[in-house]
């Protein structure tokens, strides 16, 4: 058996060792992507909210003259 093949075989325990490592990496990758996606969505929402507020403020300043 080549060194690589014997490494991958894990002494006959490949079916347990590699899935364990796969779970470790998949769960942690998902955990580190979650806040990144949430942040992108949040920034999008906040930007929309700021734009709405700005539009409202400019409309208000046109319709009502500032107090003297």
């Amino acid at each position: 058996m080549s060194p690589l093949a014997s490494f991958l075989a894990m002494g006959g325990y490949a079916a347990y060792v590699w899935p364990a490592y796969a779970v470790f990496f998949i769960v942690l990758i998902a955990d580190s992507l979650a806040p990144r996606l949430r942040r992108r969505r949040l920034l999008h929402d906040l930007r929309a909210r700021i734009a709405r507020k700005r539009a409202r403020d400019s409309r208000a300043s046109v319709s009502t003259p500032p107090p003297a």
């Binding site: 006959g12 325990y13 364990a20 580190s32 942040r39 920034l43 906040l46 700021i50």
Partner: protein, 253 residues
């Protein structure tokens, strides 16, 4: 004010805009260290360390199972302490740290249970058994999920955080149960192999990758927590000036 004894720098660090910047600076460093140490630990554990004389290569699951199990308890400790600070002093940052720790803790607890199951099958002949160590670790997962669920069950975020913080504090009782379960009860799960204050029952070639992975998972937790807390602070402080500035700066880029 009752918080006079807190040093000024700590008080400042607790303010959301300061912590947002602080976490943003440290996050990439923590993640880099986690990846670097993790890679070294994997090489040491999977390639350099010899096979176990009893368990063959199956024992190599230890290099992710045990660090994850340590993290499942460590993160619960951090969550419990910040939940306590949040309830007593009403510090917003402590609330956020407690609530954002819960999903990371749940992730590590889930990894612990699944990798343990994959290790148990070839060694014990069963995927699962209702033994004290396994059951208390499963309870830990439910506690984490309970905290996450309760937090999101409230319309008002801060009210939800207070309710969930209360649950987190009550659940702390489970952490010593997980840790000492292998001593208190007769269990299928083996006892501690690594002893901080004495001789570990493990050869150095196996021990150093394990401890390196422990450090890697600590740094990973810091990195994940920092990016979660940053997002949560933006969300909680959405209407404030400092957030508006950040949003506008990000839009320009």
């Amino acid at each position: 004010m009752a918080t006079n004894w807190i040093p000024l720098w700590l008080h400042k660090l607790g303010s959301p805009p300061t912590f947002y910047r602080f976490a943003g600076t440290l996050q990439p460093w923590a993640m880099t260290l986690a990846l670097l140490l993790g890679a070294i630990a994997l090489y040491g554990g999977l390639v350099l360390a010899p096979a176990d004389y009893q368990q063959g290569d199956a024992y190599r699951i230890i290099f992710i199972h045990v660090p994850s199990a340590w993290m499942s308890m460590f993160i619960y400790g951090v969550m419990g302490v910040s939940a306590f600070i949040a309830l007593v002093w009403r510090i917003k940052l402590a609330e956020v740290v407690a609530m954002e720790s819960a999903p990371i803790g749940a992730a590590f607890t889930f990894i612990t249970l699944v990798t343990g199951s994959l290790w148990g099958k070839p060694m014990w002949g069963t995927w699962w058994t209702w033994d004290a160590r396994l059951t208390s670790e499963l309870v830990l997962l439910f506690l984490y999920l309970g905290v996450v669920g309760l937090y999101h069950a409230f319309e008002d975020r801060r009210q939800g955080a207070r309710a969930a913080a209360f649950l987190a504090i009550i659940g702390i009782i489970n952490v010593p149960i997980v840790h000492f379960s292998v001593n208190w009860w007769n269990t299928l799960h083996q006892g501690s192999t690594v002893n901080i204050f004495g001789q570990s029952k493990m050869s150095a070639a196996m021990l150093w990758p394990l401890l390196t992975m422990m450090l890697a998972t600590k740094f990973y937790y810091a990195a994940s927590l920092f990016s979660r807390v940053r997002t949560a602070l933006l969300s909680l402080e959405g209407g404030k000036d400092w957030v508006r500035k950040i949003v506008e700066n990000e839009a320009r880029r």
